[in-house]
Symmetry: C2
Subunit: 421 residues, 2 copies
Amino acid sequence: MSKPRNAFYAQSGGVTAVINATACGVIETARANRRRIGKVYAGRNGIIGALTEDLIDTSYETKGAIAALRSTPAGAFGSCRYKLKSLEENQDEYQRLIAVFKAHDIGYFLYNGGGDSADTCLKVSQLSQSTGYPIQAIHIPKTVDNDLPITDNCPGFGSVAKYIAVSTREASFDVASMAKTSTKVFIIEVMGRHAGWIAAAGGMASDSATEIPIVILFPEVAFDRSRFISTVNRKVKKFGYCTVVVSEGARDAQGHFLADQGLRDAFGHTQLGGVAPIVAAMIRDDLGLKYHWAVADYLQRSARHIASRTDVEQAYATGKAAVAFALKGKNAVMPTIVRTSNSPYRWKIGEADLNRVANREKTMPRGFISRDGMGITARCRQYLAPLMAGEDYPPYRNGLPRYIRLKNIAVKKKLARQFTV
Amino acid sequence: MSKPRNAFYAQSGGVTAVINATACGVIETARANRRRIGKVYAGRNGIIGALTEDLIDTSYETKGAIAALRSTPAGAFGSCRYKLKSLEENQDEYQRLIAVFKAHDIGYFLYNGGGDSADTCLKVSQLSQSTGYPIQAIHIPKTVDNDLPITDNCPGFGSVAKYIAVSTREASFDVASMAKTSTKVFIIEVMGRHAGWIAAAGGMASDSATEIPIVILFPEVAFDRSRFISTVNRKVKKFGYCTVVVSEGARDAQGHFLADQGLRDAFGHTQLGGVAPIVAAMIRDDLGLKYHWAVADYLQRSARHIASRTDVEQAYATGKAAVAFALKGKNAVMPTIVRTSNSPYRWKIGEADLNRVANREKTMPRGFISRDGMGITARCRQYLAPLMAGEDYPPYRNGLPRYIRLKNIAVKKKLARQFTV
């Protein structure tokens, strides 16, 4: 039997609470198949690590450290926002990738990211064909935005959805108890520049057992100030308070982001304000109601302490499946999550061709948004509920979660040429 | 034996993740002493409920519902921001209180709040002496700000501290993994207008096992822009990134709040922006670094899902102690938390005279703040650590915490006169 070839694994784009659970699935599965896969080299700061030959040798990490990745948020090897251009525009970078892969006998390219990285992964597989260097490129889905096609949902989303639903419920209880003399409208800004999946999760804070008046502003629905204001006003009159969940991508009929209102400080400098204070000012100006607002920002996507168990399991399973695909000789594919039953919720791993995944964005179906454009439907609830189900608490020490920091020891460089990105 | 007199319980001011645990302690202890305490009437929306004779009869709530208060955030009976004026200025309101107490045979006034409510509670006890109507007034500490004197710490603080420490650690892991090509400075705005206790908790995100570069802006330390910027710059150069924890009460040497920078939107309207975007703009203007910012706002004080077990236990214990004090005939006192040992952490319930509590604010001791004014000392860590220790997860259903909503059935009014506040 020939010497097993090594695998390259990299994390790409914005990190999540569970992308390291995927890394855990990749590395543990590769280790369980030592006779067929050599070492797992991780790219330091994602694909940049491949280009600069800055590879991390994960074999130096203990079994316990790799296992701890399952409950550690963010990207243990570093991630990056770096999109490779087309093969025609950027021959140099692709040739460099092949040179690095060749130097380190890398036969498997496992790329963990969203739509952009699926595209890069596809290009690497094409490169393999055009250059004759044998490498199998497998994409592993990851995005809090939940906007990848074909897969029922994306690892990373379920946990951010749970965080937003839990936080919206808790803050709404707070506002409800203060509304008599104080805050009547609470606004929470959530991520999702193009797709309203995370905003929709805010709607899950309210259910038949715990009714909460919630107004959601989706990127998919053109913002209409007078309809929004009258809806908030009606809910405040009925319930005494109202919670607004606004997507950072909320925009008007002309497609302008609400967040882009030309805020200026006292010196006339532009102020990047977020959309929550903008919506808060509308409440104040049009209704004169007392408000509070929150911007969860990174807190929402790194909140491993309240991760969804479904999400952790699926993140691990996609990492495991990627290695299984590699061992089966597959190329230019992505493991997907296939929902086989809603009640009870059941899922399995499927497979998608990368050319059907790359550069396609899945937004909220109209049937998931209520007729008034500011709420979620029963179908949406049925879709979201199992994705945020179950708790998977990390271990704690002295009141704080124990998150692992790896040694991240570099592989000795073999190429004479330096490469700067 | 004469018929036992009833107790009045009210929640005052900003709510917390554990104020209902105190309510649970009050009601369960009163129920266990039925022969000596009649019913527990709760004020609907705090003291306003007493003034308007809008009392809630908690005896209609099941044992299970009262037990569930222990794991439900915010104020189950409603709270309010309403400070009674001095006895001289506001005879009418105090006479009304006595009329309501008399009508409902209330012999115990249990008031659950911060500094202002301690003052109100003291006035009620004085009123009892001056009017001859026998009522025992007991104050129960509650404030996320941790600024009450005498007591070692305040119920409500430990949980917000834990939330901020956990969130700061998680977001810092996120930034660390993105810093190579993206965000280098993350700013989180936390509560605490006059005292930096919550901001200090952000410093706990970093410890010997998990070093994180953190800069803290306290209300107690005059903000110096150039020293702040050079500190951030140094940390970014050394670690590749930096996290800034800024108190909403951060202010300059002249005492002006940083948040108050005269923000204007495109129409020239004042924008209440929060301090995080202000600090972010400084990072951008002075260092040109990419940043992200979050404003936790109500999320931090309602985050029962990540409450500190120490905090939940102490919140319950102070409620229980208040009833015990009442049964012992005490008046104008507050149960306190007394730290009897640091290692292992041990505490017991003590007792403070209300006239030593009211209208005094406890800010961070200088010995808790590092010499550069932007970090915490070992003494501060020793103080904070046990307060955020232990987890006390609420029950979940379908991925969301089950928080109780009480029936809150009103007591039949007995007074002819209406009273408006």
